[in-house]
Amino acid sequence: MSIQLHNIAKHFGRTQALEPIDLDIQDGELVGLLGPSGSGKTTLLRIIAGLESADTAPTAGRILFGERDVTHVHVRDRRIGFVFQHYALFRHMSVFDNVAFGLTVMPRRERPSKGEIRARVLRLLEMVQLAHLADRLPAQLSGGQQQRVSLARALAVEPDVLLLDEPFGALDAKVRQELRRWLRRLHEELGFTSVFVTHDQEEALELSDRVVVMSNGRIEQIDTPEALYRAPKNRFVFEFLGEVNHLEGRVQDGMLRCGDAQLNVNLPDGDEELLLRPHEVRLAPSFESGVHLPVTVTAISLVGAEVRVELEADWLAAPWLATVRHADFERLKIHRGQRLYAHPRQWHRFKDETARPRQAPAS
């Protein structure tokens, strides 16, 4: 079922948690809300769920599930499934009873028969690969298993939309990776509309059909993971989606200077800040005309497909990070304390329109 938000805003007391937001989510889409903590992503999710109510003044927003206006519908009647970061399982109930809960609390007229509930719960437990643990108590399961129970519990009532609040945030890296893949597969199989919150850009990019990047209570960009990564709309999105090296300096006659560093750029005169991804930094033992960026190697991490090299220089405010292929690493015989020259393959530049100040809270 599609989800439409019109003009949804939220204040907590006098602080504005969400600026008025419009958002359309298609039927069957898996959408990630991505942002740092305090960006309003969880608030937005809770408003969609009905666990929080949006502001009604100055203008009231609207939430539609398909054609159904659910703005004033209580959470229990919205037909949502909600998965919490810390599982929120009922600790005194067995895994089976947890999953069956939503079915057993239905009004008597709609409630399936005991046998049917049993069959449905077992089918769900089969799906989350936990059928053999049906009689266990939540405390006897690992975190990943608990989160799968919580997912099965949410899916048991066949919700119109599935909402997940940092579903993998409390799990360790390996389990997180596994559950992510598994959720993706489940979503492809069942085709439910789903919104999840995360502060992990990798998770958002890997899992989502579309990503909503948020900061300071507003939406910065809504796009597919690819478009987001290739064409970030502003500096915040660019910086949030990966590691970034900064180069600040003053441009004069097409040459950016900063201490003894120089870079040929085709920009008008004035202060500039350039951004580079770690893989856009090439290292070489010599400099060329127009590119003179001397750096010193301070740390090396060999783990992974590429070698991560940390670089420092007195013209740099913060150390740079460069990723180097293992072959290049060996060819250059990179070692700590070595002097090298950085060569940007490419750089990015965002005009200051994104640094607009936050709106003062309405009083």
Binding site: I80, F101, M106, L137, Q140, V157
Partner: protein, 284 residues
């Protein structure tokens, strides 16, 4: 061999001060708890079994058991309901004066029970503020078992509130949210999700309140009226024996109160331990 391993395990203890703190604790417990109980048993040993039975099964004493147990049961049940409500209000809602109400909960602990008893007796006597209001309705509180229950309820309510409150504070609001998102009504969520978590604490608190009420003396004595066979409590029977210098008789009755209380406390502890283990998955 054995002493060697013992010493080695002792020397590997990281936390210092075990010997000293344990020694002081044991001495303290012996002086404050065990010594008086030993004295009690010493007094009891002067009685033959038949004498003991005669004292504890005397009609007036048996009547006092019933009054005490009945009133304590009513007081405990009333406290279970209102104590839970108070704890709920104190944990779940924000309101002006919350801190004050929270502090007031401890008043029955802090107030000398005799003061409470006199205050209650004055309030609920036929010419007191409350007594005057209730008299036209035909309700008499002072000098009846209702008064006894009232005094018991007053002195023991903190037990319920203070045991339920921390458990309720630990219960994340996500639990009710999860129940509601699954379609549960407030009543169902409370009964099936919240209550099972509070249950052990509530039973413990109520049990403690009940045990406390069994031994209460000061607060009750002024409001009870102390009519033989009707509003005499067991603690008063002990007091009467003491005033007659019948220490053995007093000890006999006291031993009944002691055993009942101990048995109850033990039962509560065992039961609660089982429940907590179940909840936290200790039995994997």
């Amino acid at each position: 061999m054995r002493s060697l391993t013992f010493r080695r395990s002792g020397s590997t203890r990281v936390l210092p001060g075990f010997g000293l703190s344990m020694g002081i604790s044991v001495t303290f417990v012996s002086l404050v708890l065990l010594l008086p109980i030993t004295g009690l048993f010493g007094q009891l040993s002067t009685l033959s079994l038949a004498q003991y039975w005669a004292i504890i099964s005397e009609g007036r004493v048996v009547a006092s058991y019933l009054v005490t147990l009945g009133a304590a049961a009513v007081a405990a049940l009333v406290n279970a309901v209102f104590g839970l409500l108070l704890a709920w209000v104190l944990v779940r809602y924000e309101f002006p004066g919350k801190r004050l109400l929270d502090a007031l909960m401890d008043l029955p602990f802090a107030l000398p029970t005799a003061v409470a008893g006199i205050t209650l007796a004055t309030l609920y006597a036929g010419n007191g503020w409350m007594g005057e209001l209730l008299a036209p309705l035909g309700i008499q509180v002072a000098y009846t078992w209702v008064g006894i229950a009232l005094a018991m309820a007053f002195t023991s309510i903190p037990f319920v509130v203070r045991t339920v409150q921390p458990v309720l504070e630990d219960l994340p609001s996500e639990i009710d949210e999860a129940a509601m998102s699954l379609g549960a009504t407030d009543a169902v969520a409370f009964r099936r999700v919240i209550m099972p978590h509070l249950w052990p604490a509530l039973v413990t608190g109520t049990g403690l309140a009940f045990v406390r009420s069994l031994g209460e003396f000061g607060a009750i004595i002024f409001i009870a009226g102390n009519m033989p066979y009707e509003t005499e409590i067991t603690a008063l029977m002990i007091f009467v024996r003491l005033q007659e210098y019948d220490y053995a008789g007093a000890s006999a009755i006291a031993s009944i109160v002691l055993f009942t209380s101990l048995a109850l406390l033990l039962a509560i502890n065992v039961w609660q331990g089982r429940f907590v283990r179940r909840l936290h998955g200790g039995s994997t």
